[in-house]
């Protein structure tokens, strides 16, 4: 596939063109440029090994061992890296049928995933099946719109977490898809699904104003886009403000490049998803400074 480089700049960012936004800082120069790397997967669906070499669609691609080599290389290049997963970790290979998700969580822990959100297939062995594997997961589960209060998962999932890398405060929150009609009630039990748009806006306001985050990332399992009314990442982007990046899943969408779209204020939001089964790793690099130019819309985006 031919990769087109797409440059989008505003007048403000244009003024520093050529330096890549790195060279010129405002006169408050005590704060240097910070670089934060976000790596992400979605819908890995228990694909621990690569596809077979004669596979009809993805011959020889994917595999946890190779993914980890790439992650390590990137971490060496930039230690200020977060590794995130947008859900549907479970279900899709015999590893799940035989071991119930134990190996998936153990490998993600070895790879030092920072956080994951919960996909519909993560309920496939019931909410008890998910709970049973939690001791194997050394990373956070984030979901702001699933209320687990009346379930065994109560207290195991946070709406958001603020990661601090090189002094930059990165707020990451999770969103899950409506379970009714998609997952049997006897699997998700008393899990309550709350409106993702409303919850997203409340969470973002908290992350921005109370948690004082410099970057806000939504880890979503809503799906990239639908022809019908159903809430999706693209709709969420347009109905909210102050989100810098939406990392999506569920629809197994392969994008030629991350999507730049506009939020409620007309500012740019990045929406990305990297197919499924671990055949790709998404990488978004944020270069930040303390020059005072505000979030996102002023930033040069290169995809």
């Amino acid at each position: 596939m031919k990769r087109r480089t797409f440059l989008k700049r505003t007048a403000a960012a244009g003024a520093i063109a050529g330096t890549g936004g790195l060279g010129l800082l405002s006169f408050t120069t005590e704060k240097a440029v910070k670089r934060i790397t976000i790596l992400h997967t979605n819908d890995v669906h228990s694909h621990i090994e690569p596809f077979e070499k004669d596979h009809a669609q993805y011959p020889g691609m994917g595999g946890a061992a190779r993914r980890y080599s790439l992650i390590q290389e990137i971490r060496k290049e930039n230690p200020n890296t977060l590794l995130l997963d947008a859900g549907d970790i479970f279900q899709g290979t015999p590893y799940f049928n035989f071991y119930g998700g134990e190996l998936e969580f153990k490998l993600m822990s070895k790879m030092k995933y920072d956080a994951a959100t919960i996909g519909n297939h993560d309920f496939d062995n019931g909410i008890e099946g998910l709970y049973a594997q939690l001791p194997h997961a050394d990373f956070k589960f984030l979901s702001a719109n699933y209320n687990f209060s009346n379930t065994i998962m109560d207290g195991q999932v946070q709406p958001y977490h603020v990661f601090i890398k090189d002094g930059v405060r990165i707020g990451v929150f999770g969103l899950g898809i409506e379970l009714q009609g998609l997952v049997s009630k006897d699997l998700y039990k008393e899990t309550i699904y709350l409106d993702p748009v409303e919850i997203a806006q409340q969470t973002v306001e908290k992350l921005k104003n109370e948690e004082n985050c410099d970057l806000i990332i939504c880890l979503s399992h809503l799906g990239y886009n639908y022809r019908h009314e159903k809430i999706s990442d693209m709709k969420l982007a347009s109905l909210t403000r102050d989100i810098d990046l939406i990392i999506g899943g569920h629809t197994h969408t392969f994008l030629p490049k991350p999507t730049i779209t506009q939020n409620l204020d007309g500012k740019n939001v990045l929406v990305n998803q990297v197919g499924w089964a671990g055949v790709n790793l998404g990488r978004i690099d944020f270069f930040l400074d303390a020059s005072g130019r505000k979030n996102g819309s002023g930033a040069t985006i290169v995809v």
Partner: protein, 251 residues
């Protein structure tokens, strides 16, 4: 009140004077996990005992297919979907007959439930796990004809190749229903039909809400995956085809 004002002042102050970095440049790309990347040894070693155990089970050759089977070879029916629905018809029917003395009239699965293509070559136990990783079981819903009509309407509206067997459907280019036959006979509204599906769809999965009108349900304790394994084991070569069971007629 004073306390509140102080808190407010403090929080305003913290907003104003804290770090506040903002992104000036964002770069995004997708990195392919290709064969060119070396595998990390510690991960491979860790996976090894799990893999060996599974491989022993999974690598048994059950059948052979001379062609790649993907689920995108037809609008309203596909070779792989037809194979799955026919396998349920062939293998679940004797079980149902033994329990109830009745025959399965219709099989309905869902397009989204075909979880993988089948590559040309040996068909193994692993193939069955790839196509049907879920633990869903065959259930038979006892449904009156009027609800079969709802099912037909659902299939026409969905316009996708949900796997069916025992049912023939023809629709026009404007989605009008031209023909509905069950086991070769016209649909009768008062007749009770036996519809084999899986427990996920029975509970309204994929919005198949018509199943909520079932008069009774017979569970067969037979996983769809095991149906496939048994079907592959019986067959020497599998060569399913797209056919006329659900088609759009040019008017």
């Amino acid at each position: 009140m004073k306390k509140l004002a102080l808190l407010l002042l403090l929080s305003l102050a913290s907003c104003k004077f804290s770090s506040n970095y903002s992104p000036q440049r964002i770069e995004g790309k997708q990195l392919e996990i290709s064969e060119a990347i070396p595998a990390n040894d510690s991960i491979s070693e860790f996976v090894k005992p799990y893999k060996e155990h599974i491989d022993r089970e999974m690598n048994k050759v059950l059948a052979y297919t001379p062609v790649d089977l993907t689920k995108n070879d037809g609008e309203l029916n596909t070779a792989i979907g037809n194979m799955m629905a026919d396998a349920v018809m062939d293998l679940a029917s004797p079980v149902f007959r033994k329990r109830t003395g009745e025959n399965i009239d219709i099989v309905l699965l869902n397009f989204g439930g075909i979880r993988s293509a089948i590559s040309k070559g040996d068909v193994t136990t692993r193939t069955a796990y790839q196509v049907m990783p879920f633990e869903n079981e065959v259930v038979v819903a006892h449904m009156k004809g009027i609800y079969i009509q709802e099912m037909v309407n659902y299939l026409v509206d969905a316009g996708s190749a949900h796997p069916i067997a025992g049912l023939s459907l023809e629709i026009g280019e404007d989605n009008t229903i031209q023909k509905v036959l069950i086991q070769g006979e016209p649909l009768a509204m008062d007749t009770v039909y036996y519809v084999a599906t899986n427990d996920y769809l029975l509970k309204g999965g994929d919005n198949m809400v018509f199943f909520s009108n079932a008069l009774d349900v017979t569970s067969l304790d037979y996983k769809i995956r095991n149906v496939l394994i048994d079907y592959f084991t019986q067959a020497d070569t599998i060569a399913p085809v797209r056919d006329q069971r659900f088609i759009r007629i040019k008017q």
